[in-house]
Symmetry: C2
């Protein structure tokens, strides 16, 4: 076995039951790379780890908040360096959602009152709570309270609105940056060279542009995850052996130049 030696791995139906999703949904998430099980048995069975279940919780949570599957994957990955902040931001969105349910309940109560008194109900009030999360309003509030420093919230706001074309473009940019770094690595170019550092800076700007304001410090924090988290590491190593560490070094060197 691998690093999951001590853990109990679960099959799809076990996960489906625990997580209140269908086996088909899990297949779907696997097929689109959103939640790839840690292992497969010799027979090809999907085997899910505890860590997979944590990621699934994140997925279901963001799904509950009406994020598209297209957005959920990258959102989780781009902000993996600070799980606490992510959870706190998600909590706030859930509170807002609960508020909307409360508003709908109040509308029902108003309708019940109107039934008794036979007085017409205010139209605006009838439909309170049915509005979707107002991202622009949220933005204003976030700015007033926290300035522009709450990265995860900014990130959620942005990614929710991206179209499929946006995502295609985002992915192409990421691909180009990673391919460039892999090329440098295999060519024997130092991770601290101008070329590598330049690509690292491109990477930082890419995140800054598409996800959240990304300072060099934040960038470094994210790069630490690339070697610390087996999923990221595997992602990079699949492209080129040693790439995870290489990218981390390049990003660190880039930050030192600031």
């Amino acid at each position: 076995m691998t690093t999951q030696t001590e853990a109990t791995l679960l099959t799809v139906s076990q996960v489906a039951k625990i997580a209140h999703v269908t086996v088909r949904a899990l297949h779907h998430y696997d097929q689109r790379g959103l939640l790839v099980p840690s292992e497969r048995s010799a027979a090809g069975y999907r085997l899910y780890s505890d860590r997979d279940l944590e990621r699934l919780q994140q997925i279901l949570l963001l799904r509950q908040l009406d994020f598209s599957l297209e957005a959920i994957g990258p959102l989780i990955d781009a902000t993996a360096y600070d799980r606490k902040q992510a959870l706190e931001a998600q909590r706030e969105l859930l509170l807002a959602q609960r508020g909307r349910t409360n508003a709908i309940i109040r509308g029902v109560d108003a309708a019940l009152s109107a039934l008794k008194g036979d007085s017409p109900m205010d139209k605006k009030k009838m439909f309170e709570g049915f509005e979707e999360m107002d991202a622009s309003k949220y933005d204003v509030e976030a700015k007033e309270k926290w300035g522009e420093t709450d990265a995860y919230k900014v990130s959620m706001r942005r990614t929710k609105a991206y179209s499929k074309d946006d995502w295609a473009r985002i992915k192409a940019e990421e691909e180009a940056i990673q391919a460039g770094l892999a090329e440098l690595l295999t060519s024997g170019v130092s991770a601290e060279s101008d070329e590598a550092v330049d690509l690292a800076e491109q990477h930082r700007q890419h995140i800054d542009r598409w996800y959240y304001p990304c300072s060099p410090e934040m960038h470094v924090g994210l790069s630490d995850m690339y070697t610390a988290d087996p999923r990221f590491e595997e992602h990079f190593e699949k492209r080129a052996k040693g790439l995870a560490s290489y990218v981390q070094t390049a990003i660190t060197a880039n930050a030192l130049q600031e």
Copy 2:
């Protein structure tokens, strides 16, 4: 103008804005007969009345509770005789939904705690709140509290699970009953004749089977709506002049035989 002479009628964009839906959604609801605007202007513009907005509130509420559009129309119509009961039942489902949001929030809080202590989180707790409304559990509770007399709740439970085939069958049965009654009316057969009363009984059993336990008394209550509510009346009159009243009389006669 019609009976809406004193009211202000709204265009699609006005309704869309108030109700937080899209114009496209309103077109869709119109196209499938779910929410047909009271009027059309000479230019063909959809014009919505206050009563239309009330119906839209019901639609959005049931949509919020994950009922299919297929189910929403018939559900609203079959239980139109008691709007109070409908609203109260819907309120309870909303409370349950809020409870599930609360459960998810608790899961997030547990995850935050787990982050600090680095102790693994209970798997069951991770996914609390993501389950769908458990109709069978709800059924048990309804029985204990109210016996089988809470018609609307029973109705909601049943209709939520019907397939498209079920709905096709339901509609075909309704169609046959109504066509039969219309035929008797146009043939000059009394609404209190055995034939008409027999069809009225078939109607009661149809509702009893597909929607909720329907006593003769309830059936009479519903039939009162057929002449009292312009939408129902129009529906019947479109088929045969005087049919709304005819059906009501047949249903009343059927109830008197019990």
